[in-house]
């Protein structure tokens, strides 16, 4: 039986009613980033306007956003890489040796408020003269990335039949060899999920970088935040900055959509 055309139309309307409010802030942000200050403060708000690129020029030339882009990328990529290095073997061990207590420790690391480590870090990194260093930022961002990696990968490794290592071990490989050359390659979907999510969360992190970074290592969220208080109400440029910071995370999400959904929902759903 085919559904009634009116019901189909009704459902389409529901979809629009859901998607509209979700998308609207993004659309408004994008539109405002091409507006002049006059168009932005106009009342009633202007839907139609002649777009300009001036705001983006300001953000990238006057504010040197490229440098913060590079900083965010350095911190994100390095902390994710080290988190994989530490997290993959740990996740494997948790999955295969059923180390419940370890998985609880990692879960607690995921749930603890970041600020409860940040204050002691601030004291320690100051003493070690590591404020405004990539080292301090990368270490702090690893505490974001590592739990995500372990969390996602330990459930992923559980889905891989143990026969895979066993057959390699019968052929004379050590277990660590089997892990490296057999388990890791077949786990690439899980690894992609872990990389994408942990990079996005590092990219978006505000609190750690706000305290631990200064001019040299400043990351994008801090730059955007400072830009607001500094540029007061240059809304167009601020919106251009907001677009610039969100674009990479959104792009990654579009490319790896399936993985991102899986990674974000797996905490609560079995499997």
């Amino acid at each position: 039986m085919k559904p009634h055309p009116l019901r189909k139309l009704g459902f389409a309307l529901i979809l629009v009613l859901i998607a509209g409010p979700v998308l609207f802030p993004f659309v408004w942000m994008l539109a405002s980033s091409f507006k002049t200050q006059v168009d932005i403060i106009a009342w009633p708000p202007r839907i139609l306007f002649s777009p300009i690129l001036e705001n983006y020029r300001k953000v990238f030339q006057e504010q040197n956003f490229l440098k913060y882009f590079v900083n965010s990328s350095i911190v994100g990529v390095t902390s994710v890489a080290f988190s994989l290095l530490l997290g993959l073997p740990a996740a494997y061990s948790i999955a295969r040796f059923r180390q419940k207590r370890l998985s609880v420790l990692i879960l607690v690391a995921r749930l603890m408020p970041g600020i409860s480590f940040l204050m002691p870090w601030y004291i320690i990194f100051s003493r070690l003269k590591l404020m405004d260093s990539y080292t301090a930022l990368i270490l702090s961002h690893m505490l974001i990335a590592l739990p995500i990696v372990v969390w996602i990968m330990s459930s992923y490794f559980e889905t891989i039949p143990i026969e895979m290592e066993e057959s390699a071990m019968v052929d004379g490989a050590t277990r660590q060899r089997a892990f490296l050359s057999i388990i890791l390659p077949v786990s690439s979907p899980g690894i992609v999920t872990a990389i994408t999510l942990s990079f996005i969360f590092s990219w978006n992190n505000f609190m750690f970088s706000q305290v631990l970074s200064m001019e040299k290592t400043k990351t994008l969220p801090i730059a955007v935040y400072n830009f607001v208080s500094y540029a007061e109400v240059d809304w167009g440029a601020v919106m251009a900055a907001a677009v610039a910071i969100m674009a990479p995370a959104i792009l990654l999400t579009m490319i790896f959509q399936k993985y991102v959904v899986k990674g974000l929902t797996m905490g609560a759903v079995k499997g």
């Binding site: 370890l102 970041g114 004291i123």
Partner: protein
């Protein structure tokens, strides 16, 4: 027989060791250090010598009206956001739980708020909320309603901030519940239909009980994250106007990095992580109970 080396024999120790060492140094040690500092009077600006003062910092913080207000506000913000997100999120999931063209695209749209940078989101919403040029007041004026102060008003700031949280995180509940619904077995539904059950009966007798563990876990995860909300509040209001949007997290941040009262900020942190730990324990119980 193949000889197994020391590494292979103790793989269950060597493999997790680096990660565990990292977590111990970067998380467990700082938490213990915070606990230690909470019994001190340490203040980087006062010039007073460091001294252990027992529970005196606790008493000072507990007697501070600003702390009690922040504690209450943390709860009301969380309750407001969580209630709306659960009801809306569940509702949307039930609506979307069918086959239709463009379902993947719909899921992509729902993902966008979840991966968007919170600080930038906060700034965009500040433009909406701007009392003179903001869209929010324009929309109200279209309906003949009076202008609101939104995040600039003491009474409206928490609901206005909660609305941003609701916008950003309702999709999380929706996606989790959708994933849960996709895993339900169709049999109970078939027999219910044979018995002539109504839609409401099916929802309350079958869907809700079967989805309950998933929904509950999602709610607790969300509650923990809402209690910790920092970026949006700090970026949009900095805890203001006055202290009227200051939650525990924001207050602890200011005590640590603006006033440098390390002893007292440690006390606030201890309360914050007690709260989070209680909820985390609840999650673990649930996971064990339902074997999630």
């Amino acid at each position: 027989m193949r000889k197994s080396g020391i590494l292979e024999h103790h793989l269950n120790v060597f493999f997790p060791l680096p990660a565990v060492a990292f977590v111990l140094v970067m998380m467990v040690f700082p938490v213990l250090y915070t606990l230690f500092l909470s019994f001190s009077n340490w203040n980087l600006t006062s010039g007073m010598p460091f001294a252990l003062v027992g529970f005196r910092s606790y008493l000072r913080v507990l007697r501070e009206p600003r702390f009690l207000a922040a504690l209450g506000r943390t709860f009301s913000f969380t309750a407001l956001a969580l209630t709306a997100e659960t009801l809306l999120g569940l509702g949307l999931a039930l609506l979307l739980n069918r086959k239709f063209r463009g379902k993947g695209f719909m899921k992509l749209i729902l993902l966008l708020p979840l991966v968007a940078t919170p600080v930038a989101i906060g700034i965009v919403w500040n433009l909406f909320y701007d009392p003179t040029i903001g869209l929010a007041n324009y929309v109200l004026s279209l309906f003949g309603l009076p202008r609101q102060a939104w995040v600039s008003g003491a009474a409206s700031v928490i609901p206005a901030l909660a609305l941003v949280d609701i916008w950003q995180w309702t999709p999380m509940i929706t996606l989790i519940v959708l994933a849960g619904l996709a895993g339900l077995s169709p049999e109970p539904y078939e027999s219910a239909r044979v018995d002539g059950a109504t839609g409401l009966q099916i929802f309350f007798r079958i869907t809700l009980p079967m989805i309950a563990p998933t929904l509950l876990t999602a709610m607790i995860l969300r509650a923990i994250d809402a209690l910790k909300t920092f970026d949006i509040i700090y970026a949009m209001t900095g805890g203001g106007p006055g202290y009227t949007s200051e939650t525990l997290n924001v207050m602890a941040f200011k005590y640590s990095f603006e006033y440098f009262r390390m002893g007292q900020s440690s006390v606030i942190l201890v309360f914050l992580f007690l709260l989070v730990l209680t909820l985390s324990a609840l999650i673990m119980r649930l996971r064990r109970r339902f074997e999630l």
